[in-house]
Amino acid sequence: MKYLEEFRNPGLAQKLARRIREVAGKEPINLMEVCGTHTMSIHKFGIKGLLPQNIRLISGPGCPVCVTPNPYLDRAISLSLKKNVLIATFGDMLRVPGSTRSLEQVRAQGGRVKMVYSPIDALNLATENPGIQVVFLAVGFETTSPTIAATVWEAEQKGIENFLVLVGHKLIPPAMKALVADPRIKISGFLCPAHVSAIIGLEPYQFLARDYKIPCVVVGFEPLDILQGILMLAEMIVSGKAEVQNQYRRVVRPQGNRKAQEILDKTFEPADSEWRGLGKIPSSGCRLKPELGHRDAEQAIAVEVEPAKEHRGCKCGEVLQGLIEPPRCPLYGRACNPEKPIGPCMVSSEGTCAAYFKYQGAR
């Protein structure tokens, strides 16, 4: 495929790695990626093995499925059992355990849950089933939320009344702010998420460079992208510079995707949001604008939701904050594995525990 092979050239990867070793010095450098696809690429291409010892890559809360808290899942599960309601969701959400069960389990108990690839598929389900309220699980970061916003407007235009969304979107920059304010994690630089940045552009990261003196580089997903991004960060860190730079220029424009931003502004407004592991973060999520309240499943369909509880022993919260690596969870690889996941970080393929398990094995 075009634009992939060129960015996987092993010879150039070795040279970039050598350059990183030359530049990096001896001081500890902690780089955090806040994108599950980066986490996957880093493991898949063995990036950690190419870096000098003082550069540590830390996985942050980059997987939207993983950071979705139990009260959201529990509500989705309750809704699926309500008469004339159908839950439509991306496949990754199916196996994530809520407080007592997952959507997949509740489906076996009579819950109505259907997997879709696109919010448009969910809208089509609504068109085909006029007597049923189709609730789409609107999770995801800034990459995904514009696709759902566009679908909501399509429903408005076509007058499809029975399409609703359960909004659980999260915004990445406020989570980065919460992480740098946490004294337990010392982040020297951020690898900023590629496709989130394609939507939001570079501006939303500027406060990190300006106020916290933390360099940020938007990087692509291929091994050369990641290595070049690390080199750009290392160069800034050793020279005491803090800027927002863009390695993934072939896709990310400095101003982002204006069209997508417009539709987001028209659809959602900022709201405080709860993240698994990170707790409630101010303005880190969104809700539908009041004029779209009739599309909001939380307002429109009353259900009883069980009191939330966490999975005993699961350390997802600490994994998502970059405080521990998955093997330090006592359940990792034993009670918890991709066949029988206990926490969301093992369920989603972009979860840190799942990426570790796939490429590093049980221990």
């Binding site: 075009k2 634009y3 960015f7 696109s118 448009i120 050369l224 995707n257």
Partner: protein, 79 residues
């Protein structure tokens, strides 16, 4: 769920496009990237094209990489 891949635009009909990659074809919504043209590559996510790819910039990025490592080869020392 965050998977987003570059695919080539084969055909455009209104706000929809047929895109392809490695022999796989699918229909995507172009409402977030109305500027996309046939023959170009777009990043596809959840049934939508979310951004267009700029081939000339991809070339520039690769060149810049060569330069970044060449500086090292030339000087043979830490900058």
């Amino acid at each position: 769920m965050c998977l987003a891949v570059p695919m080539k635009v084969e055909r455009i009909e209104g706000a929809l496009a047929t895109v392809s990659s490695a022999g796989m074809k699918m229909r995507v919504d172009l409402s977030l990237t109305p500027e996309a043209r046939v023959g170009e590559y777009v990043i596809v996510h959840a049934g939508f094209a979310i951004e267009t790819l700029r081939p000339e910039v991809a070339e520039e990025t690769l060149k810049l990489m060569e330069e970044m490592v060449k500086a090292a080869e030339d000087s043979g020392e830490v900058s």
